[in-house]
Subunit: 359 residues, 2 copies
């Protein structure tokens, strides 16, 4: 029992700010992740917000500034829904830490990702009411959470391109899997930007700013950037992360598991970010010498991962399961090598490897 | 002197149908490829078309069918321009053939790609005049070239998603680098689909069909599909190619070249397809143990490749230059390994390797 309510199958990395990843059993249960097991990445304690007093403020390059209550948002705009996979840019960081230590960053396994059906209003609808002015290129979001880890301390924030912000899949969400959005996931309202890293899906949203340049805050200019292996974090160093990378993982069996020899069903997910879809998932049990195509399971639409399964007949002994997903541009995941290591430990999208023992 | 006019720095693979790739010197000259050196991929001889009698026929799921002459197209629609990189899905196939032979396919080196400024009318404008009906999901193109290699013989064709077809970058082009489109490149009109494989940029366009499903023709259902290594070509086998993959190449020095020891400028290109841009290009001369970031040169917009350069001080002896480009989703090119091999030899986007001798 966390202070943020009963939780399902999660691995808690930090109690305050609360950081927890989904356990493999919950991920393997089906394509939609249970809300109480959905991963949480926080940079600050949950802010105290009175939903009745809360207002969403919209400003910047707009014809008219807005201050919208939840009641107004519900009355003025149609409710929209999207089933979307969120993924922390640090998901699977543990695999990079195994190559070389990454101090000061959460050692996420493969559970800093999950899929939910989000409901709320379309960001595009809100932007249209505000009236974007010429020169709008980016849309920034500010949460209510004051992050002491930023230097100087600041509220969590980030921006996405204006073009993306106008697309119908980007929501200001108040619902998650048919229930009100839990406080730990950003209630009363969070941004959901399908296809972008979780860091752009700002929780406890308080302000939207239409801008003429990307966000200058710490969480986009210093954190959440991909540095070269010898790079040092600093304003503007490295490249900003934004779009989610092609990735996959094995969800069952788990690494180190002992399974009964004979037919073993291997299950996992693959996600290509939405602009591209998962075209194929190959699985090898001979170190990549030969590959078999997994069966792709239920299609929840372009913004959701695709779960997959394949059965191998495993003889008694040690086996390594190796996976590579392909996207619809015929790109595939990089080899599992040390070149993916980076000082902040982001974007581990190496082909997953899971060792099992059949007995 | 080919029957299709004087050509610049090209390597001719076949005289009829004419198939030629751009030489490395022409590619290295600058970000826009000279028209007379631009690669040509043809599946049939150039059809004889009288531009005055030529009509563009638009049908399928439309409110009104259209038959548009060049004069009408010029009068009715605004002229648009896009600088876009085209790339044959078989570009760099020679690198795959080196792993295992691929009989019956053109052994393209790295020159089945190039960048030009295309002018013409927006496909979206033409579609809007025809009035797409509900249920439109794809837009098909048919050229005037009858391809005897298809079984049964058919005119070259293919389709793109309706959503892409409505985007402003997709042109019906009659101009190339400020001159009329040459006949060998598809005059009087070719499709230009930035970010898609060259095979969707149908030449000698005669018909546009608004459809409720992807193209059923040979060049989308059998050819231009990515098969698993042990797959066999056949209707619907493998995955259809569409979006261009993240790729890069070294343009200078060329593989096997002897250069003067001392500072050596390495130049190349990287292309991420447009929905994603080139974020970084790393170059290694120690087999990937260490990487240096190349300087990205002139930015011609999202639909064009990015040329790059970097200078290394090369001691006398043998050196191998290894490159990896990263896109804005932090995906990178796959390792150069045999797993990219596929029976039709498509999408070789392995990290390029160029061996040089410094003397």
């Amino acid at each position: 029992m966390s202070r943020y309510g009963k939780r399902g199958d999660v691995v808690v990395h930090e109690e305050e700010p609360f950081n927890a990843e989904t356990g493999p059993a919950a991920l393997a249960e089906g394509p939609v992740t249970a809300t109480d097991a959905f991963y949480v990445r926080s940079h600050a304690p949950v802010p105290e917000i009175d939903p009745e007093a809360w207002r969403l403020h919209v400003d910047g390059l707009v014809e008219r500034e807005l201050d919208l209550s939840l009641v107004t948002l519900r009355e003025v705009f149609p409710e929209r829904a999207v089933t979307a996979t969120l993924q922390c840019a640090g998901n699977r960081r543990a695999g990079l830490i195994a190559i070389r230590d990454i101090p000061g960053e959460e050692p996420w396994g493969g559970g800093a990702t999950g899929t939910a059906t989000w409901t709320g209003v379309g960001l595009a609808d809100v932007l249209a009411l505000a009236g974007p002015l010429p020169g709008a290129t980016d849309v920034g979001f500010v949460g209510g959470d004051l992050c002491l880890g930023a230097k100087p301390a600041e509220r969590f924030g980030g921006s996405i391109p204006f073009e993306k912000a106008c697309r119908p899949e980007v929501l200001l969400a108040w619902g998650m899997n048919g229930e009100p959005l839990p406080v730990v996931h950003g209630a009363p309202m969070r941004v959901v930007v399908p296809g972008y890293i979780g860091a752009r899906c700002v929780k406890w949203l308080e302000r939207i700013e239409i801008r003429s340049r990307p966000w200058e805050g710490y969480f986009q200019q210093v954190a959440y950037r991909l540095l070269p292996p010898d790079g040092r974090p600093g304003p503007g160093a490295g490249m900003p992360l934004g779009l989610v990378a092609l990735n996959s993982d094995v969800l069952s069996p788990v690494d180190g598991e002992t399974v009964a020899a004979g037919p073993v069903e291997v299950r996992g997910y693959a996600f290509a970010g939405g602009e591209r879809h998962v075209a194929r998932v190959d699985v090898s049990i001979d170190g990549g010498a030969s590959w078999s195509q997994a069966e792709l399971l239920e299609d929840l639409g372009r913004w959701a991962w695709r779960q997959w399964r394949i059965t191998f007949d495993l003889a008694p002994g040690e086996h390594e399961i190796l996976v590579r997903a392909w996207d619809s541009s015929a790109a595939t995941q990089p080899e599992d090598d040390a070149t993916l290591w980076n000082p902040k430990g982001y974007v581990n999208n190496a082909r997953p490897r899971v060792r099992v023992r059949a007995a």
